[in-house]
Symmetry: C2
């Protein structure tokens, strides 16, 4: 992931509504949710939702697919993962204390250490 892509992804994440979208969509996995369902779940007017969905999609954090009249949005796990990696690796050069602080908070959630790809 290059500098400008990472910057776009971070900008996309730096917004309450868009973080809510990630939070809502992540558990749905690849199935995702239709735009209308999302609007209802978050109580948000359609144009505003559409604006943020396309911002996230353009940043590579969301994927969309059309089914009949609906457009289903789902998170792109790689987009988010690579953004995190960019910060950790390219910006912090895997600095031990940063990684430690990152792991520390997630004790018990041991997925990073290897159970992730099951």
């Amino acid at each position: 992931m290059d500098r400008s892509k990472a910057l776009a992804a971070l900008s996309a994440l730096a917004h309450e509504t868009r973080l809510d979208l990630i939070r809502l969509l992540t558990p749905r996995g690849a199935a995702g949710m239709a735009a209308g369902q999302i609007a209802e779940a978050l109580g948000m007017p359609a144009p505003r939702l559409s604006f943020h969905l396309s911002a996230l999609e353009q940043a590579g954090l969301l994927k969309s697919r059309k089914v009949a009249r609906n457009v289903f949005y789902s998170v792109d796990p790689r987009g988010i993962g690579q953004t995190i990696s960019y910060v950790l690796n390219d910006c912090c050069s895997d600095h031990p204390e940063v990684l430690a602080a990152c792991v520390h908070r997630r004790q018990g959630a041991d997925a990073v250490s290897g159970t992730a790809n099951t």
Copy 2:
């Protein structure tokens, strides 16, 4: 780390200059660098630098200490680590695929899995 702190930290990271600052300061560790040194290293006018440094400090990503006439800035590893954790844990609920994408890119940099706190 609560919602608004995480949002502030992500906003702070979502800027090229501020990412450059993190990149420059991380390897220096707790010693950090004086504002003047930073300005010289990045070829940046002082007021602009000051603006971004205080943005990062307010977001909890940088710490500062005064030594004689100089102000030394250093990264706060916990601030960055907790921000990453917030995205991974609170927003993505440790979704396996996100974590996998995060780890995958960092093969060889195995610090996250446990060697971080040495």
